[in-house]
Structures are given as C-alpha cells and as structure tokens.
Subunit: 301 residues, 2 copies
C-alpha cells in the first residue's frame, strides 16, 4: 500500500503520522505547538525522515488545521493560518512551508472539516453525502459535507458563532464569546458551561442542571443547522458531548422545537439516526489529515 503523511494541526499540539489508504498508522509523533518555525520545522523533519524511495515515498501530505485558515486555492494567502489570536501564528504559510520542504502535494482544510470527511469515509457518516460534524469542547466548531465535499464557501463555516435564543430569565449568564457574548459557543462551549457552574462539564454528575441547559442550546443550534443545510445526519462530538445522556435529551428537545416540521425529522425516534455521536473519537483529526492527503494524491475516498 502507498504511504501518506497526515497532520492534525492543533493549537496545543501537532499530531503527525504516516498511514496507508485504509487508515493503518505506521508512525506517529506529537509536537507541542510553540512557534511556527519550531513546530512546523519539527513536523517537516519527521516527514523528511519518513519519506523514502520508491514504494517507501510519501505520496502526499494532508493537513487538518486549526483556524481561521484560507482555503481559496486561487487566493495569495491560500494555505495560511490567517487571523488567529494565537501568538505568532498569524499569516503562517502552512501549506507552502510543507510543500516546498517535502516536494509532494499537500491537501489542506480546517480541523473540523477534516474530521467531518474522516467520519464520512470511516465513521458515523459513512455512505452519506450530506451531513454535519460538530465538536463542542473548548470552542464549538462545525464542518458541513455537501455532496461528499466539505463546504468552504467564502471562508469556511464557523457554526459555533450562530445566534440562538437566550432566555436570560432562566439563564442570566452573559456568555463568554469575546466577539458575540451569547452566541452558541459563548453560551455552550466547555468553558462557558464551566464559567456558570464552577466545574468542567466532564466532571458533572448525571443529574447536574447544566445538562438540560446544554441540551437546550444545542437543540436550538441543531434546528438551525437542519433548516439551513438539511443534512442527513448531524454528528456531535467533543468533550461536552461525552455525556451519553445528552443524546436522548437533545433528540427530545429538538423534536419538541421542530414540532412536527421537517417531515424527515419529526420525532425523537426519527431523530435517532439524525442526531448521533461520531464514531472515530480522538482519531477523527489525524484521519481527517489522511482523507486530505488521499484526495491531494488523486485518490477518491
């Protein structure tokens, strides 16, 4: 089997791996995200070491990257991390650096788009052409797949920043998004939930009142995603969604909000195949890099 380089480029660490087209990983390193020179330099050296001759060559590289990034191939800043608040990383030419250093095609997309594509190839979106992958953790991100391709548009979706109804009587919390206050991410990300209750959601007991709040806001966002993209499925992962109890609550609340509208998603039972957890867990990111590498090499997955 051919060999491909995969990068999950995160704000805390870069995971770099070499894998075959079936997703078997033969080598992997974790590199702390410090400066672009240091982190990208270490990533490049790893792949140079892995890049052999003949069948041992890396056919391509795929990078699922933290953002915001420029995905417009015709843009002069294509392949860069753009307006990130992360110190030192603004306007970092990720694709150019790796492409020049390694001399193979480099596929590039956001981390959530990469994860969405990986779920579509090997995970809970398998066989679907139109679905959405959402991660609720430190922030809230969403990747949309339409006709089997990740939606880019003018930039890329930033689903966490959608506006949803906020009942300030029930929940007077102002929200923590530095841009919007009480957008979905401002109300319902891990840090937003922790800020209200003083304890991370991951440590809440099953009967913690925060779960109902998280399910309520997420149901509102799910309705908006259903109304805007009409996906066949919405996969919800990330730290906050690890509480299995959230899924039946979320389906019940979404059904109640939709109130019979959208015939394909009228009841909580119907929603069992629409609102689901992803299947790849923490591997979604690096396998996202692999899908991008495969497509950059012209392999259709």
């Amino acid at each position: 089997m051919a060999r491909y380089g995969c990068v999950e480029a995160g704000g805390t660490k870069f995971i770099c791996a070499v894998a075959d087209e079936a997703g078997n990983i033969e080598a992997e390193v974790r590199i702390p995200t410090t400066t672009p020179e240091e982190t990208l330099g270490q990533a490049l050296r790893f792949f140079q070491t892995q890049h052999g001759l003949g069948d041992a060559a890396l056919r391509s590289l795929g990078v699922a990257c933290f953002g915001p990034v420029d995905l417009q191939t015709e843009s002069p800043t294509y392949g860069m991390i753009t307006a990130t608040p992360k110190a030192g990383w603004r306007m970092t030419p990720v694709v150019r650096f790796l492409q020049e250093g390694l001399g193979v095609p480099v596929g590039f997309d956001t981390d959530v788009n990469g994860a969405a594509l990986a779920e579509g190839v090997w995970g809970a979106g398998k066989g679907l052409q139109d679905f959405v992958y959402v991660t609720i953790g430190t922030g809230i991100g969403g990747g949309a797949v339409v006709g089997g391709r990740a939606v880019h548009g003018a930039m890329h979706p930033e689903m966490g920043h959608m506006r949803i109804p906020h009942d300030r009587e029930r929940d007077p919390f102002a929200g923590i998004c530095p841009f919007h206050g009480d957008c979905w991410e401002g109300l319902c990300s891990g840090p937003a939930l922790r800020a209200r209750f003083g304890e991370a959601a991951e440590n809440w007991p099953e009967d913690h009142p925060g779960w109902d709040l998280a399910a309520e806001y997420t149901a509102l966002a799910v309705q908006n995603i259903l109304c805007t993209l009409s996906p066949q499925r919405i996969l919800l992962g990330g730290g906050v969604m690890q509480q299995a109890r959230l899924f039946p609550m979320l389906r019940q609340k979404t059904a109640s909000l939709l109130n019979g509208y959208l015939s394909a998603a009228a009841t909580a039972v119907d929603l069992e195949t629409v609102i689901m957890p992803p299947a790849l867990g923490s591997r979604a990111g690096i396998l996202g890099g692999l899908v991008l590498a495969l497509r950059a090499a012209g392999v259709e997955v």
Copy 2:
C-alpha cells in the same frame, strides 16, 4: 436555438413558459392553482400545444415548485409535493404527471432553489459558486448554492424556520409560525410584520419603526447563514425587501452583530458585496424553471 418548457409552480398560480437557453421567452401562460388535476392538466395541455416536431420540439421541462417537495431521485415519492397544508395538493406527483404526459426529461426543484440557480446564471449570483438566495414575503424561504449546485440534503433547506434571538421586552409579539411561533418567519415574514402594525410593510413609510425590527431579525438570520454556509453572497428579495432602505440598515446591523468576526465580512462596507438584492425580480421563478429544464437536458449552465 432549442426550446425548453419552464414552470414556476406557486401556491396561487402556475406560470408556464417556453424559452430558449438564453432566457428569451416566446410564450407564457398563467394558470390559477386550483386542484392538481385542473392546474397540472392545463399546464400539460399548454406544453403539448407548444411541443412541435424537430427543432420545434421541447427538449425538456423544468419545474420550480412550491413545497415541501421530495427531491431525492431514488425515493418512491420523488418529484411529488409532499406534506403541504394546501388543500388537495398533498402527495401530488408533479414530475411523473408531466413526464408521462409530455415524454421529455423533467427537472425539478423547490421554487427558491430554482430562483437561486437562475440568479447564479443570469442575475446577482453570476460567477459565484457559493451563495444563498432568500425571499421574505408571505413566508421566508432560502435556497443555498454550494459549488454551483442547489443544496438538497435530506429534504431541502427551510431557512425561514431557523431560531433567532427574540427580545420580548422590545417586541412582545409572539410570532405567527404555526409550528414554532417566533422563528425567523414567525417574526419577520410579511404577514408577521403586518400582524404587529396593522398595515402591510409594502405600504409603510420610510421612517416606520417596523423597518428597524425587520432589519434586526434579518441581520441575526444573516449571521447564522454566514456562520453555517459561509456563502460568498446572500441575495435577499421578496415583498418585504423591496424597501431599498433596508439594505444599508441590514449591512450595518450585521456588521455590528459580527463584531469583526469573519474577516471577509467585518464592516458594513465589506458587506456591500455580500448582502445584496437579487437582480431578476419577478422573473427569477420562471427562469429557475429554465435552469432546471436546461440541466435536465444535459446543458450545463
């Protein structure tokens, strides 16, 4: 030039026309929407009369249809109007009836998707691959174009039914959506605006307080569309949007809501090319039918 049949199938009237691939219309009739038998029967007879021999044959038909409709080509109810509240029209096999009666390929999509595609070919979305068309009138509908194709997904988008923040202190109106009360359509459609102020928005003076409210709700929905689909442009038409003053207000409010987020849309000036009126006016519907007919005949537009 070849000849194509086009239908704008609305809840009040069906417009049927014959056009060439440049959009020149050579014949057109308006048929009241009564019963499916009567209305579709009249439409079919019009096209049978128009369907000549050789170069005078209709190569195909395209129907931009009121909904909800089934757009899944592999579904047993493909090409039907499905769960419509319109008396007598539930489960009407529009495509099958016209295809069997005329014996030419029939293209089929929602009315807003058709209008969106027409704007992409001849109107204000020309040259764009990713944009959204919204109409705010009796209801609120939205069609999304991604990579040049109308988004269908599991069903089709129903953007008017997204949830947006509703400040009940400022605007105690409960909303008129029979399913959701105060979704976007429930708060901001023509009838919702009229219900608050006793007069249709079309007749409001320039300084009517309702404009600010309509701009506010629409800006919230525009932010959600930008965050979910990342379109290059959002075209907003329909009766309510005929007030030209709404556009600068809407851009200002959207810029203020985004608060610098989404670098391509940071200010009201940047938003001048993002938030725009459509260009085809009342012709968008029938030209939507033409795009669907052209694509059904294998003509790429």
